[in-house]
Each structure stands twice: as structure tokens, then as C-alpha cells.
């Protein structure tokens, strides 16, 4: 009886909105975003119409869409998208993977971190566009150099987040695990990873968006495929609609990656809400 009362108390504290209301709110939030995007496109179309810009300065939305259709049906586009996605995926795997492992070690050993921090920060003070040509010289103009540039740019945010995340582990919980005679592996899986996860996922959000930048920079420096290569190509032959198509696709990829991390957050950090 008493416990039922407690249960009701919890429900009161977190009132579940009626499902239709929640749905309406969801629609409201997304409707605003859709209206904003639609408005921007209308404005863009109107601007082109009004100023009579030639397509190589500013193509109309219809023109860009038409270009996209042509490229998609020619089949060439998928090869370019695939190349960029491969660079992003490989770069994220290498960069974020390295950041997680090094971040874990540095997070556990503050003295080591003080030793390594100046070098890590220095490496970040050199713009990626300055390093990318070197990487291409060393690794060639194939996929490897794109993966390397992407890895370099995604490394830092993930590293910082991992160090901070591991530092944030509650020392009382470490004591608890020790008093239970937990093994190192158990401490890692049952305590450190879940405790660091919220901060690590925050860093991952930055890394995935930067990964798109890294892949494009890599492709700029010499490539035969990829969306960055298309932009570079479009600039050379003044095919501005082509550049718009590539940019639009890059934005789409970045959005999709970011959204993936957000969904991951919603799933893994349910306990925070």
C-alpha cells in the first residue's frame, strides 16, 4: 500500500505527456526546421530570378536539382559519394580509435598527460590544410591519405573528451569496485566506460562533423574521386551547379553522422533523462 504511494510519486515527478501531444510537439519542432529550410530555398530561387545571375555565379535551386538528377542517373555520383564515405569511415575509425585508447591512458595517468599535452596541443595549432599536402606526398593520392587527414582532424576532440570523461569517474565508485575486488577489465567495462560515455559522446559529435571537413581537405590535395574532388573539379571548369550538388551532399552526410550520435546518446544515456 505504502509502496504504491511511492510509485505514484515518481510518476508525478516525471509526468508522461499524452502521446498525441508529444507527437504534436515533435511535429512542431520539425515543422519549424522544414519551414526554415523551405524559406531559404524560396529566397534563393527568388534572388536568382530577381538579379538574373548566370548559373556559374549562382545557379537556381531548380538548376542544382536538375544537375543532381543528371549525375545520379549517370551513376558516377555514387562512386564519389562512396569515396568520401570511405575516407570518413576510415578516418573516424583510426582517429577516434586512437583517441579513445590514448585518452584512456592519459586520463588514468595525469603525469603522462602533462608530458604529452604540449605536443598534442602543438599538433593542433597547425592548420589541417597545411599538413594535408605533406600527407598526400607521404601516402599518395589514394584513399590512405584521405583517411590520414580525416583521422588527424577527428583525433583531438575525441581525445580531449576521453581524457575528461575518464577523469570524471567518481572516485567513490572506484573504491566500491576495489572493495569488491573487481578486475581491471571489470572496472573498465562496468565503471569507466559507462561513466565516461556522456562526455565521450559529446566529443564524438564534434569529431563526426569534423570528419567531413577532413575528407574534403584530403580530397582537395589530389584525388580522382570524392565529393571534395568534385568541388575542386567544378571550380576548375566553372561548373557551379556541380559544386552546389557536392556541397549539398556533404551537408547531408554531416547531418546524418551527427544525428547518428544523437540517436546513440538517446539510447545509451536513457538514465540521464
Amino acid at each position: 500500500m505504502l509502496y504504491n504511494m511511492h510509485e505514484r510519486q515518481i510518476e508525478l515527478r516525471q509526468p508522461a505527456p499524452a502521446s498525441w501531444r508529444r507527437w504534436l510537439r515533435w511535429l512542431g519542432g520539425h515543422l519549424a526546421a522544414l519551414v526554415a529550410v523551405g524559406g531559404a530555398i524560396v529566397l534563393w530561387a527568388w534572388l536568382v530570378e530577381w538579379q538574373q545571375y548566370p548559373p556559374f555565379i549562382l545557379p537556381s535551386p531548380a538548376r542544382v536539382w536538375q544537375k543532381f538528377g543528371e549525375m545520379a542517373s549517370a551513376g558516377d555520383l555514387w562512386r564519389h559519394i562512396g569515396a568520401t564515405l570511405a575516407a570518413i569511415a576510415g578516418g573516424l575509425a583510426v582517429g577516434v580509435g586512437a583517441a579513445f585508447s590514448l585518452g584512456y591512458v592519459l586520463g588514468k595517468h595525469p603525469r603522462l598527460e602533462r608530458l604529452a599535452a604540449p605536443y598534442i596541443v602543438a599538433s593542433q595549432s597547425i592548420p589541417i590544410v597545411a599538413v594535408a599536402p605533406l600527407v598526400v606526398i607521404w601516402l599518395g593520392s589514394g584513399l590512405a591519405s584521405k583517411v590520414a587527414v580525416t583521422a588527424l582532424i577527428t583525433f583531438f576532440p575525441a581525445l580531449v573528451a576521453t581524457v575528461v570523461g575518464i577523469r570524471s569517474v567518481d572516485p567513490d565508485l572506484v573504491d566500491l569496485m576495489r572493495s569488491l575486488r573487481a578486475t581491471r577489465g571489470q572496472i573498465l567495462w562496468k565503471l569507466e566506460l559507462p561513466a565516461a560515455l556522456p562526455i565521450v559522446l559529446g566529443g564524438l559529435k564534434l569529431s563526426v562533423t569534423l570528419a567531413v571537413v577532413g575528407a574534403v581537405v584530403g580530397e582537395f590535395m589530389g584525388a580522382s574521386a570524392g565529393l571534395g574532388y568534385l568541388i575542386s573539379l567544378g571550380r576548375g571548369i566553372l561548373d557551379t551547379p556541380l559544386m552546389f550538388v557536392a556541397i549539398g551532399l556533404l551537408v547531408g552526410i554531416a547531418q546524418a553522422l551527427y544525428l547518428t550520435v544523437v540517436l546513440l546518446e538517446n539510447r545509451l544515456l536513457r538514465w540521464q533523462r
Binding site: 509502496y3 510509485e7 515518481i10 573504491d175 562496468k190 565503471l191
Partner: protein, 265 residues
């Protein structure tokens, strides 16, 4: 007569981080099985240090300890720990939290364990909260979850570091009585650090008084009050006499932190 469950022989601690700091002078004592011992003393007297050494979380500089007749150094699953702060994992539900010790120790949690856990939660007034997360519960409820987690391990010795220090007076009283009931039912041995003289007198068979830093056992006081203890006893002359005696001992060795006898309740 059965041998004492815990023996400490000249355990001490000095911290050398910059200026050396003698936190705990060599102390020796023994705890009998089934006994409740409370440790009181001014802050900075090394209470938590002593408890951490007893739990094997910190090495003693010298001396030796025996637990259940065996030399004791490292953490032991038969020694349960309740810290001052409720140390629940916020990403685990209540049920997952209290099953953690079993998960760590036996790798596989059986259905029987789950049943035992659920029954224990119900017995402690936490029935129906198995799937709640710690942040959805009040401080007192969370501390009860911590207690349930420790009890599920069925420890022979329970070390408690000001377990109810951050709770309001009413919740604290209720949990004190609950602890007494559980201790009597399970025949557990409890060693508890507390700031509250009243709490110590209410719970303990014996009270160790630790002097100001460096910590040293000033006296071991036997509380002669009958069991089961009740809250009504707090207002009896016998209770007052013991409390006053301890109050005096702490006063002798430094007035700083210890609270007036009644204020904590």
C-alpha cells in the same frame, strides 16, 4: 568463546605528500563476532583512514590485521563497505545496482540471485522500485539501496563510514532502527564511523573514541544498554550518562567538531 572476527594490531598511517602528516598513530583493538562497534572522534582524527585500512583499500604503514582468523590485507568480499556518499551507479537501475557485487564476484547472476534481490528490496521498503534509476529516488531511499546492495553480499563484517551523515534527522532515525533490526536478524558484525554521539550510543555495544590528529584510541566505552534498543531510550538517564561520558572524552581531546549530544537527532 569464539575468537574475535577482526583484530587490528598496531596499524598506523602517515601521509607523505609534501609535509609528512601522521594521520593515525598505531592503534590496536579487536571486534567480536555479532558486535556493533561505533567509532567517534573529532574530524581529522583519522576515522576514515582507519576504516579504509580495515577494508583493505589502503595499506597500513605497520602492524597487522586478522579477519576471521586469517591475515588480512587486501579487500575481501566478506567485508561489506558502506561509504558516506551514496555510491550508486547512476546508469544502473536499483536492481542492477544491488546485483553489482554478485556480478563482479561470480560473473553470472542467477535467477535465484534476482529473486533474493527483489525480496530484499521489498523487505527494505523499496518494493516496486527495481527499475527506477537512483536520480529518481530520494537520498534516504538511495542510502537504503546501498545498504541492500551490501547486505545482498551477506558480509560477515560491515564497515560503515558515516553512512547516514547526509540524511535528515527523521530518515536517519528510521534507518538506524532498520539497521539494528537487520543486524539482529542476520547476526552481522558492524563497525561504524559516526559523528553523532547519540547515534553511537543508540547502536553500539562498544564505542571507540579516537583522539584528535594524530588519531589514537583514547578509550573503549562499553554501552550497557539492553537490546533491542528503541528511540525512547535516548531520553533515559542511563543513555544520557554514556553520552555525557563520551562527550567528555572528546572534549578532553579537542572540542572542535563533535556535535552536542542531542542536536543530531
Amino acid at each position: 568463546m569464539t575468537p574475535p572476527i577482526f583484530v587490528a594490531d598496531h596499524i598506523s598511517k602517515k601521509f607523505v605528500d609534501g609535509r609528512p602528516l601522521q594521520a593515525l598513530l598505531p592503534v590496536s583493538f579487536q571486534i567480536e563476532a555479532g558486535e556493533i562497534v561505533c567509532l567517534v572522534g573529532p574530524s581529522g582524527s583519522g576515522k576514515s583512514t582507519l576504516l579504509r585500512i580495515m577494508g583493505g583499500l589502503m595499506a597500513s604503514d605497520g602492524g597487522a590485521m586478522w579477519f576471521a582468523g586469517q591475515p588480512h590485507r587486501a579487500p575481501n568480499p566478506a567485508i561489506g563497505f558502506v561509504f558516506q556518499k551514496t555510491n550508486l551507479m547512476p546508469w544502473r537501475t536499483v536492481l542492477q545496482n544491488i546485483l553489482l557485487p554478485l556480478e563482479v564476484q561470480q560473473k553470472k547472476v542467477t535467477d535465484a540471485d534476482q529473486g533474493r534481490a527483489t525480496a530484499l528490496l521489498a523487505a527494505m521498503g523499496l518494493g516496486g522500485f527495481e527499475e527506477a534509476y537512483p536520480r529518481q529516488l530520494s537520498g534516504g531511499m538511495n542510502q537504503r539501496v546501498v545498504l541492500a546492495r551490501t547486505l545482498l553480499q551477506q558480509p560477515r563484517l560491515l564497515l560503515m563510514d558515516e553512512p547516514f551523515g547526509q540524511l535528515d534527522a527523521l530518515t536517519r532515525e528510521r534507518l538506524n532502527l532498520e539497521l539494528l533490526r537487520l543486524q539482529a536478524a542476520e547476526r552481522m558484525t558492524i563497525f561504524m564511523v559516526t559523528h553523532s554521539i547519540t547515534e553511537a550510543v543508540l547502536l553500539a555495544d562498544r564505542i571507540f573514541v579516537l583522539s584528535e590528529r594524530p588519531g589514537r584510541l583514547a578509550e573503549q566505552v562499553v554501552v550497557g544498554l539492553p537490546r533491542p534498543r528503541t528511540l525512547a531510550m535516548i531520553n533515559t538517564p542511563a543513555f544520557g550518562a554514556v553520552a555525557l561520558h563520551i562527550r567528555g572524552l572528546i572534549g578532553e581531546h579537542g572540542e572542535r567538531e563533535a556535535e552536542p549530544t542531542q542536536s543530531s537527532f
